[in-house]
């Protein structure tokens, strides 16, 4: 996709200091391109370090290829950058380790996250990968809120949680897949026990 056709995220020009007015170009794994302000990028620790390390000038940004973000698709990345632009310049919260963690979801974020759970899931992954602390907070809070007023049985369905039996079966399957001999050894051991043997070896 050409730079001209890239879905540029809305920017509030007045809110951006003159000296910070530089826009970086990023490309999702499905080749969608985005322009993101330097100030918005600061919300992402990963991207912020990346652009600092690259040391791009304004010319570099225009002339060099867009920075590829391999793990995130365009639909998710658009949400991420919309969020970053809206919250640019805001302080990054520090985790105090409290439980329950008090997180307010602002109206803008609530609307942004009014999406399919599949996309919400990808948004959390993206926020984790890009290390955007507050986006992680609000997206995790949104998932946590799904638990409110639910019984354990309902929670199991909401979060697709396996039962103990399903966990056991999955564990056995994983073990067998890893070491097919293990099952044979176990069966041999059981057989010897049935025959009254004291020692396996």
């Amino acid at each position: 996709m050409s730079v001209e056709n890239a879905p540029v995220v809305d920017v509030d020009e007045a809110a951006i200091p003159v000296e910070k007015k530089m826009y970086y170009r990023f490309e999702s794994n499905d080749k969608k391109e985005f322009r993101v302000s330097e100030l918005a990028i600061q919300q992402s620790e990963t991207l912020n370090r990346l652009v600092e390390a690259m040391g791009y000038t304004s010319e570099d940004v225009e002339n060099k290829p867009a920075i590829a973000i391999e793990n995130i698709d365009g639909k998710t990345l658009k949400l991420v950058f919309q969020w970053c632009e809206h919250h640019k310049g805001e302080a990054i919260p520090v985790d105090d380790g409290s439980v329950p963690k008090i997180v307010e979801i602002p109206e803008f974020d609530a609307k942004l996250m009014d999406i399919d759970n599949g996309l919400l899931f990808k948004l959390i992954w993206a926020a984790d990968y890009l290390n955007i602390v507050q986006l992680l907070n609000v997206s995790c809070k949104k998932v946590a809120n799904m638990a409110q007023g639910k019984t354990p049985a309902q929670l199991r369905r909401v979060y697709l949680l396996p039962s103990d039996e399903e966990d056991e079966a999955a564990k056995r399957a994983a073990q067998e897949a890893q070491d097919p001999r293990a099952r044979e050894v176990e069966e041999e051991f059981e057989e010897r026990k049935r025959q009254g043997g004291n020692s396996f070896f």
């Binding site: 329950p100 759970n117 946590a144 697709l160 949680l161 396996p162 966990d167």
Partner: protein, 373 residues
């Protein structure tokens, strides 16, 4: 739009982050789903709610209550898990409850709201107890058992097998007396802390003395002047570190007790509070006792590292010293109503009788009073 999200497929940190954002009731429900979810909740190391600093700052993390209205309840965090709110067969022997009611405090202060959910109980009482201890990372030693009126509807022998050793027992019921005696027989020998509002023993019964002799950490007898038949001889055989006597009558031998303490009686005693229905006579209490120091009214009296607000209402405080150099502070406290006027003290307005006729004495070595002496 899908209604589900595969929580366990999130990276570990984010999975825990979601859990940390959940309210406590959701966390409790989440922990009930499987062993894996139980371990996840435990890994959060959720701390108990901070309680009111004056009246309940030292609440144990788990409280088990037997009462007339709720039946059986277990409290942890700010959640109350209740059983037998509806009568069921064999609830006396704590058979598997049909239903469980889970109530959580949603907010604090004037806007305090509670939410309650009921559902079919998936577990036996013992399993519930073990589950709660597990997810909050606590041992059985952290449990307080509270027995209210009509707790005799439940078989305490069975309760012992279900809950095991209890360190901290509180008995708020007044009758029947044989229930009180039964409870103390079953749980008494292993206790560390005992609060007993009413005396279940008849006059001259040696079992009361046996109880007083125990090496308890805290012995709290009576509440709002309810305990009958306690005298100097009883106090002298008490081996607890911290003792409160709230008497139905009058304790008229404090002076004699202080003199005996100076000579070496009650060597384990660290803190003693005696409450009676009438004010004490300061002169009588301290008659013939050598006073080491008068403590000025403006000086804070600190026990351990905590300031005890009740000393702010003292009429006098003095240091005395026993033969081995151990120092103690003794301080008669007046009734709040007489001292300040109840309307001015909103914090304690509902407890005016708490302060009526208090004599408050701390006995300890220098180590426990570092900031005072």
């Amino acid at each position: 739009m899908t209604n589900s999200i595969p929580l366990l497929q999130l990276p570990n940190d984010e999975r825990l982050q979601v859990l940390r954002c959940m309210d406590r009731m959701s966390l409790l429900f989440f922990s009930l789903i499987s062993r894996n979810t139980k371990d996840l909740v435990r890994s959060l190391r959720v701390k108990p709610i901070t309680h009111h600093r004056f009246f309940s700052s030292n609440l144990p993390p788990v409280q088990i209550g037997f009462s007339d209205t709720i039946g059986l309840s277990m409290r942890c965090w700010d959640i109350t898990v209740s059983f037998y709110k509806e009568q069921q067969d064999n609830m006396k022997v704590l058979e598997k409850p049909n239903k469980v009611w889970i109530k959580v405090k949603e907010s604090d202060g004037l806007n305090t709201r509670y939410t309650e959910i009921e559902f079919l109980s998936p577990m036996e009482i013992k399993e519930w107890y073990e589950h709660i201890l597990y997810i909050i990372n606590e041992s059985r030693q952290a449990t307080q058992m509270i027995l209210y009126q009509e707790s005799d509807r439940f078989d305490m022998e069975i309760a012992k097998t279900v809950f095991g050793k209890i360190n901290y027992l509180t008995c708020f019921f007044s009758r029947p007396n044989n229930h009180g005696r039964n409870v103390l027989r079953i749980f008494g020998p292993e206790l560390k802390q005992l609060t007993l509002t009413f005396n279940p023993y008849p006059r001259g019964d040696t079992r009361l003395r046996k109880m007083l002799i125990q090496n308890l950490d805290i012995l709290d007898l009576g509440g709002h002047n309810s305990f009958k038949r306690l005298n100097l001889r009883d106090l002298l055989i008490c081996n607890a570190h911290r003792i409160t006597f709230s008497l139905n009558g009058k304790f008229d031998k404090i002076n004699q007790f202080l003199k005996l303490w100076i000579k070496g009686a009650n060597a384990r005693l660290q803190k003693l509070a005696i409450e009676q229905r009438t004010n004490f006579n300061e002169e009588e209490i301290l008659k013939g006792i050598r006073i080491i120091r008068e403590i000025p009214q403006e000086e804070n009296i600190v026990y351990g590292e905590k300031f005890d607000y009740r000393f702010a209402y003292r009429t006098r405080a003095v240091d005395i010293e026993r033969y081995d150099g151990t120092r103690g502070t003794t301080s008669p406290l007046s009734a709040l109503a007489e001292h300040q006027g109840p309307c001015q003290i909103t914090q304690t307005q509902t407890y005016p009788s708490l302060f009526r006729g208090w004599s408050y004495a701390n006995f300890a070595g220098y180590i426990t009073f570092p900031s005072v002496f």
